[in-house]
């Protein structure tokens, strides 16, 4: 959590609180009594196989799921007590972006600005700013239907940001995107997290979530099998992180010194390249870099691989569906 958001949490309720949530479709129980909360400014990643109940949970928070049992609060307001107020606090980006083919980018954003009753005088500047943020300024007069999938997704993000919501509900925002578009979306989300937005994001691309989320929830067959910070998963499962380093002054002696660093599990040396496996809960990549320098290594290249979230996912789930 960053400083800006931390200052806002004093005395305020969590941005999202869900307690014993049940969602049923006929005889199928899509969500089975899950409970969790997201602090203000937190980025919560929802992981789970298809049919695990991720979208149903997000739809409950987006006021689109009726009926459901249990309760869900956003900013301390129970969803059923005042859904209209909730709608002003959230920005919902569904799996299918939901764009009007007959509108241009400008018209589309003005359409939703009017739907959120934003002051007419401020709309042009606001839209320009959002298009600059999502790198779509040059497409302002393009037809929405003519945009690429990645651009449409970014336009969807610009749309959810129009009314400056406190909570972003993003259902698979990176699905179907090429690597470049995924990176662009990830960078925008990082920027939004820095701005203090609370984000609930579901994704199949675990690597993406590991780089973005402060908190992870793993759903399987409608049940929350794990919920907590990434470090907690690493600690609980004893996950390793692989770090690749290139050192100018590589030697047997240096490799020995690196092996002795607390948290390092093993070191493999090939020429000037070191592959270092560290216990993720014991040593962060930043701390390892510092320790390498302290050990006298002259580091030319340092590249930590992402945490093994896939491994965590496989260890925590059994492949069940609701």
């Amino acid at each position: 959590m960053n400083d800006a958001s931390a200052s806002r949490t004093n005395g305020a309720p969590p941005m999202v609180e869900i307690f014993n949530l049940w969602v049923k479709y006929g005889s199928v129980e899509a969500v089975r009594g899950i409970s969790f909360s997201i602090p203000r400014g937190g980025v919560f990643g929802f992981i789970g196989p298809n049919g695990a109940g991720k979208s149903s949970t997000i739809r409950v928070l987006a006021t689109l799921q009726e009926p459901f049992a249990g309760w869900a609060k956003i900013d301390g307001i129970e969803i059923r007590s005042d859904p209209t107020r909730i709608r002003r606090k959230i920005g919902y980006l569904p799996d299918a972006v939901g764009l009007y083919e007959d509108l241009t980018v400008r018209e589309y954003l003005h359409f939703f600005a009017a739907a959120y009753d934003l002051a007419e005088a401020t709309r042009p500047q606001l839209i320009d700013d959002l298009l600059a943020l999502t790198d779509l300024a040059h497409k302002i007069d393009a037809q929405v239907v003519a945009l690429s999938r990645g651009m449409q997704q970014r336009l969807g993000l610009a749309r959810v940001l129009l009314h400056d919501p406190d909570l972003l509900l993003l259902d698979e925002p990176a699905s179907g995107l090429d690597p470049r578009a995924r990176i662009e979306i990830r960078e925008i989300l990082k920027e939004l997290a820095r701005m203090g937005k609370t984000i609930l994001i579901s994704s199949h691309i675990l690597h993406e979530l590991s780089q973005l989320c402060s908190q992870i929830g793993i759903l399987e067959a409608g049940e929350l099998v794990f919920e907590g910070p990434l470090a907690e998963i690493n600690r609980r499962l004893g996950l390793m992180q692989l770090v690749h380093a290139q050192v100018v002054n590589a030697s047997e002696e240096l490799t020995g010194r690196v092996r002795k660093i607390r948290g390092v599990e093993s070191v493999e040396a090939r020429g000037d390249r070191l592959s270092i496996r560290v216990r993720a809960e014991a040593l962060t990549p930043e701390a390892l870099l510092e320790e390498l320098r302290t050990a006298g290594a002259s580091v030319r290249m340092f590249q930590p691989e992402s945490l093994e979230l896939e491994t965590a996912f496989l260890k925590l789930t059994e492949g069940r569906t609701a």
Binding site: E66, R80, T84, Y100, L103, E107, D117
Partner: protein
């Protein structure tokens, strides 16, 4: 499903056919449609037989009536097949294309012809069960006499051939079309426009009605041969276009047409010196975004395009009604006016029905509804703004109807009160249709289902009372009170009566209530229906739209 797998079909390597039949077997609607068809067929036949036999006619008197029963049953089958087959075939290939699974089928070792044939067989299987359902009834008509074995076999063969032909035509349209809705429209319209598709239909009725004693009747054989030829031709065309249009995208059929007209007018305008009657102004939504989109961006909401619709509908009325009134012989004036009015009415009702059914279901189909529902607009605001385009369209569609009544008023001043009744009827029907279709649009998951259900309901609503009256007539139960009641129920009777009343100059304002009582009841009934439908649509609207309602 396991029973299906044990069928020899599986060993014949017909994966598409087996999959489609398995899917059909798992769908509840398959059994509902089959039961409904059988129920209507057998009930109608029982009523037909009972009306003729239950009135004390002796066995000798009924002898020879089989030919007329036979003709009626064949006609019923023809009409039913014409309505049902497009519904069954439209989604066969277009549905695969929409689900983006057609490309996968084409990548498999199956050839396009194998795919087309298996799709065709999967749709013909239920159709032929419908045809077979009537065989016992046709056999009963044989026992009444008047039908030869030859006629019986010929009739059965021709009905079967026509089904095969219509089915192939449906598969061809499905193979060409990007969407199921487009395929459905193309099959219905195409089978009307191309006479060769109806070749079997044209020949079957005379064979059944007039009676050909010879199975090898030349005309019937030619017809059967033509049916088979066009079946093969349609399937071949379907194969040809299958690969070529494997990934055809959903077209927006009306806007490109209007854009072509725009370009044409721009060229004409260049010659005429740049006259602009209506210039579209660029605008952005201020306070009611959904209304703005419906009236500025949608094809049938924008003033420029609505003006074209108005011209297309108003011109025939303005030209034809005075021509019929002034030039036609008095004996055919009523008939001529009825035809113009009927065409205007059917167009107006269908357009309003289709557009109102689409306003919510289309948002749902295109997955834009969820985004709209998370905006802080009330359900009522969303629906009423969405209906703004339909309201505009309705006003435009009312114009020719008002013109029609205006002409009558102009020429027939004595019955002024009567024209007021007619004008009120005109004003109440389209809002009724609007709310009925909106109600279906709110309930149905897809636009296509909403449109099909709306149009079917309108057809039943319009046609069921006269049909019921005809059935009651068979039992001599159609007294004046019953007739009046049926007149009250069906808009068809009221609309059909308008030209009759218009050409009858003896109407006096003072006798309005007595003479036009059914119309006043009719107006009261439809006003009540309008109110109930509107309340139904607006009540619990958030839940119907699919979101958490605001308490209180």
């Amino acid at each position: 499903m396991s029973a299906l797998r044990r069928l020899p079909l599986a060993s014949l390597r017909l994966p598409v056919l087996v999959k489609d039949l398995t899917e059909q077997a798992a769908q509840r609607r398959t059994y509902i449609i089959r039961f409904a068809y059988g129920f209507v067929l057998f009930t109608s036949t029982v009523v037909l037989f009972y009306a003729n036999l239950g009135t004390g006619a002796s066995a000798r008197q009924t002898l020879g009536r089989g030919s007329s029963y036979f003709a009626i049953l064949l006609a019923f089958q023809m009409i039913a097949m014409y309505l049902v087959i497009p519904l069954l075939t439209a989604g066969a290939i277009a549905g695969e294309r929409q689900r983006e699974t057609l490309v996968l089928l084409l990548l498999s070792p199956l050839t396009p012809m194998q795919i087309v044939l298996q799709k065709y067989l999967s749709r013909m299987a239920p159709v032929l069960t419908f045809v077979f359902l009537s065989f016992p009834l046709l056999a009963i008509t044989y026992t009444f006499g008047g039908v030869t074995v030859g006629q019986l076999l010929l009739g059965i063969a021709l009905v079967t051939f026509v089904c095969l032909e219509l089915g192939a035509f449906g598969i061809m349209c499905s193979s060409w079309s990007a969407t199921t809705a487009q395929a459905l429209g193309a099959t219905y319209v195409g089978s009307l426009l191309f006479p060769w598709v109806c070749s079997g239909v044209c020949c079957t009725f005379p064979v059944a009605a007039l009676g050909s004693t010879n199975v090898v009747d030349l005309g019937a054989l030619t017809s059967a041969g033509f049916c088979l030829f066009s079946t093969v031709a349609c399937l071949s065309i379907a194969e040809f276009v299958l690969s070529a249009r494997a990934s055809a995208s959903a077209p927006r059929s009306v806007p490109p047409l209007f854009q072509k007209i725009d370009r044409f007018f721009e060229v004409v305008n260049g010659v005429a010196g740049g006259i602009v009657v209506w210039r579209d102004r660029a605008s952005l939504p201020s306070s009611e975004p959904i209304r703005w989109r419906e009236t500025r961006k949608r094809t049938f909401g924008t003033p420029r395009y609505l003006a074209r619709v108005l011209l297309a509908l108003e011109l025939p009325v303005v030209v034809l009604v005075p021509a019929i009134r002034l030039k036609a012989a008095p004996a055919i004036q009523e008939q001529g006016l009825a035809i113009v009015l009927a065409i205007t009415w059917v167009s107006a009702v269908l357009l309003v029905g289709v557009f109102a059914a689409s306003i919510v279901s289309q948002e749902r189909s295109r997955q834009t509804l969820a985004v709209l529902l998370t905006a802080p607009l009330s359900g009522r605001q969303i629906l009423q703004q969405k209906l703004a385009g339909v309201d505009r369209l309705m006003l435009v569609l009312l114009a020719p109807l008002v013109s029609f009544i205006g002409f009558q008023f102009w020429w027939k001043s004595p019955g002024a009160g009567r024209y007021l009744v007619l004008a009120l009827l005109t004003l109440i029907y389209l809002p009724c249709v609007k709310w009925l279709a909106t109600g279906f649009g709110l309930r149905m998951r897809t636009q296509l289902i909403a449109i099909v259900v709306t149009v079917s309901t309108l057809a039943i609503w319009t046609l069921a009372p006269p049909v019921a009256l005809a059935v009651l007539g068979q039992f001599q139960l159609d007294g004046p009170a019953v007739r009046e009641f049926v007149l009250v129920l069906s808009p068809l009777n009221a609309v059909a009566a308008i030209p009759k009343m218009a050409t009858n100059s003896s109407g006096l304002p003072g006798r309005l209530l007595e003479r036009d009582r059914p119309f006043l009841w009719h107006f009261a009934l439809y006003a009540g229906l309008w109110f109930l439908l509107r309340q139904y649509c607006l009540r619990n609207l958030d839940r119907r739209l699919g979101r958490v309602p605001q308490p209180g």
